[in-house]
Amino acid sequence: MTTVLGQRLLRREDAEILTGEAKYVDDLAIPGALWLALVRSPVARARVRSIDTSAAVASPGVVAVYTGEDLAGEWVAPLPVALTATPDQKVPAHYPLTSGTVNYVGDPVAVVVATTRQAANDALAGVVVDYDELPAVVDLEDSLSDRVVIHEDLGTNASYTWPLQPDEAAVDAAFASAAHTVKERFIQQRLIPSAMEPRGAAAVPAPFGGTYTLYTSTQIPHILRVLLALTLGISETKIRVVAPAVGGGFGAKLNIYPEEVLCLALARKLKQPVRWTETRSENTQASIHGRGQVQDIELAADAEGKVTAVRVKLIGDMGAYFRLLTPAIPILGGFLYHGVYDIPNYSFSCTSVFTNLNPTDAYRGAGRPEASYAIERCMDSLAAQMGKDPADIRRINFIPRFDNGHATAAGLSFDSGNYEPALDKALEIVGYEGLRKEQTQRRESGSTKHLGIGLSSYMEICGLAPSRIMAALGAVAGGWESATVRVLPTGKVEVVTGTTPHGQAHETCWAMIVAEKLGCAPDDVEVLHSDTAISPHGLDTYGSRSLAVGGTAVALGCDKIIAKARAIAAHQMEVAEGDLEFANGAFSVKGTPEKTMPMAGVAFAAFQAHNLPDGMEPNLTAETSYDPPNFTFPFGTHVCVVEVDEETGRVDLLNYVAVDDCGNQVNPLIVEGQVHGGIVQGLGQALFEEAAYDENGNLLTSTLADYLVPSAAEMPNFTLDSTVTPSPSNPLGAKGVGEAGTIAAAQAAINAIVDALRPLGVNDVRMPASPQRVWTAIQEAKGA
C-alpha cells in the first residue's frame, strides 16, 4: 500500500514564495517599531579609551544610544556556549555589546536606536569611539605561540585540546611497520555561509501583558527561546519566538546573536517594538564564518595499500569569542577522519585557538566536510604514491557491507553501509575508463589542457542526535525531536513539528509521511512549525537531522494515532481490536472487509465523545518525542571531471556525477535539490570562496562583489543517482541529505585538479583553487 513515500511530489511551499506572499522578517509590517543600528569596531584588537555618543544622540530621529556599559544591567548571563569540550576549556567573556575592548573587525561596541532604519544608520557616524589599537593575532600558529594573548584573563590563546586517541601505542606501531606513509597539511580556509537573506530580528513587547514576541531569521526558534530566557532573565513563558519565512541558514542562523538579544532587551527597556535588519557587509563581518582549520594528517599503509592507521592533528580557528557551537565544530569531524575505510588504528586531536577574527561556528557540514576532505585527499596521495588507480585504493580499503552496526576505530557505531556499489555506479555513469583513456591520450599528445578526474567517497554523521551521546560529548542539550498529530473532527490532519524548515520542504514531506501512515491525501495534512506558541517543543533544524529525527517523530505520532483510533473503532464496531486491520485510511474487520470505519469517522467519534471506551480521553491527538538510538551515516561517491589549462591555471568543470545514499527517500525531488545546492557550496569552497583577512585582521571580502558565491555561469549541470541502504537507526530508514553535497564536493574538485596536474609534479593546490593558485602550483612544481 506504499503510495506516497518515494514520490516526486511538488512543493506546497512554492505558491506563496513565487507570488511574493511569503513574509521574511524584514517584510513584516510592525507599527511603531524603532530601528537599531550597531556601531562596530573598525579594528581587530583595541582597548576602547572612550565613547562619545553626544553627536549621535542629537541626530534626527534618534531615540537613544547605548554602550556596553549602559546595558550591562540588562544581561543576567553572557552569550551562551552549548558545548564544553574539555573540563579546562577556556571561554572568553562575551556579551551582546563589548565593554572596554574589541577583538575583531565588526565587534559591536554601541547601538543606536532611532525611529527609522535610515535615521539609525545616519547616526552611526555620530558615535565617536577612541580606540587604543593593540597588536592583533590572525594566524593560527602565531596564536598558538601566545606571542600575543588576546584575552589576557585567560592567560593563553588555546581554548582546549581535545584528544580522541584510543590506543596511541598501536598507532605508533602501525606507522613504525608501515610500507607506505602519507603526510599532508591541508588548509581549510574560512568561509562565509552567505544565506541570501541577511539576518533580521524584530521584538514586539506587550508592556502591560508582560509578554514578548521575537520574530527572527533563525533555524532554531525553540532553542533560542530557552537561551533568551537564560540570557535576559525573562521567564520562558513570556517569550514567544517566531521564525517566519527564513531565507536560508546553512548553519549561520543556528545561533543566539547579539542583535536578537539587543532587540529583545531594548524592547523591554523602551516598551516599544525594536527591529534590526543586517546589511550584507555586517553579515560577512559578524555573522559566523565556517571552517578555519589547519589539518595535519598522516596515513600508514601496508605493502598492498591497505591503510592501517590514521593520525590527525588539527588547529581550529575559533575567532575572537565563542558563539553557540564554536568549540564543537572540529570535534564533530573528529570521529570521521577514517572515512568509509576499515582503518583499525586511529588518533585525532584538536587544539582550538582564539584569533582576532570573526567567530567561527557551524557551516553546512560543520566539521565533517573538513574530515572527509582530508581523508579523501590522502587516499589520492596514497594511490599516486603507490602507482594505483584512486578507485582501486578505495575499493581495497572500504569497510565491507554491513546492515546493522559497524564499530569504528574512532569509537562510533556506523548504522549501515555499502560503499562499493555507490562508487561503481558513479564511475559507470561518468564513463571512468573512457576518461582515463582520454587523459592518457591528452598527456601523450603533449596537450596543455589537462584532464583530471577526482573521486570522493565521502561519509558523514547526521541525524543529530542521540541525547546520551550528546551528553558524553559535553553538549548542554540533547537531540530528540517532537511531533503532535491531530486528526480534526472533519478528518483533516494537523501536524505540529519541532523542526524549523528554511527551504527544506518539511511541510511537503511531513505531509507525505502522514499521508502514508494514515492513508489520507497529503493535501489533507497541514504542517505547523517555527513558532514556539504553536509548536512548544522542538530542537529545530541543522545537522541533516530533520527527517531522521523530526520526520520519525511524525511517523511515530501517527502510529500512536492509529493505536488510539483502533481502540475507538473496535469499541464502536463492537469487535476486538485484534480483529481490525488498518489500511487505506480505514479500519476493517478481518474476513469481513465490507465492515469498515474510516479514520475520519473515528476522528469525529473521538470529537463527539458520545461513545468512547471507558476511561478514554476524547479527541484523536497524539504527542511524541523521539530520541534516536544512534546517529545516521549517509555516504556516497562523487566524481568531478575538470580540464585544467596549464598555461593560465584556469579550471573548467566538465562533468559532475553524484551517487548518494541517504537511506530511504521520502521525496527524491527534494533530495536532489538538497544535493545540487550542497555540491555548489562544496565547489564554491574548492574553487572560489575565501573569507580573506589582511595581516591586521581586516576582512578583504566583505561584499558579494569580493566574496565569490558561485553563479549559474560558473556551474555545470549535475548527474545524480543514488543507492539505498536503509538506516536501522530509525523506522523510516532515512539518513539525511542536507549536507551531503557540501561534504562530498570540495575534495572531488581538488582531487580532480591534482589528478590533472600530477604528471607536472603538482601534489596539492590550496583552496580556493583560483587560476592564480593553480598556475603558481604548476610553476613551483616545474621549478622544483
Binding site: 545546492g677 557550496q681 549559474a712 555561469a713
Partner: protein, 150 residues
Amino acid sequence: MTVNGSTDEHEVEPRLLLVFYLREVLGLTGTKIGCDTTSCGACTVLLDGESVKSCTMFAVQADGADITTIEGLAGADGEFHRMQQAFHENHGLQCGYCTAGMVMAAVSLLEEHPNPTEADVREGLEGNLCRCTGYHNIVKSVLAAAEAGR
C-alpha cells in the same frame, strides 16, 4: 510611476532607492534585498519590460516608468505566469529569498532570447545569486518556461 498596473504618486527623498520605495512606501515586499553592492539580484524587477536591480536605482529615476514586481506577475485570475509555473514544476526554488529576483530576471531573459540554450540561461542569470539550488533546477525551469512559450 505605474507598478503592477496601478499608478501611484508619492513625494520621496532624493536618496530613496527604488527597492525601498517598492517595499516600504508601496508595501510590495516580494522584492528582496540581499546585498549592498548590486551583486545578488534579489531585488530584480522589470522596468519598462527590462530587468533592473532596484537597489541600484533611485526611486526618482523611475519617475513615470512602468514597473512589474513579482506580485504583478501572475494573471488577474491568479493563474501563474509560465515562469512561476516552471519554477514550481522543476523545483527551482528552496528558501525562496532569491526567487522573486531570479524569476523576474528569467522573464526578462526570455523576452530577449525566446529560445535560449543552457549556456545562454546560465550566462543570462549570472547577476542573480542563489545559495540553495545550485542553479541546476533554476536553469531547468527557465528552459522549461521557454519551451512552454513556444
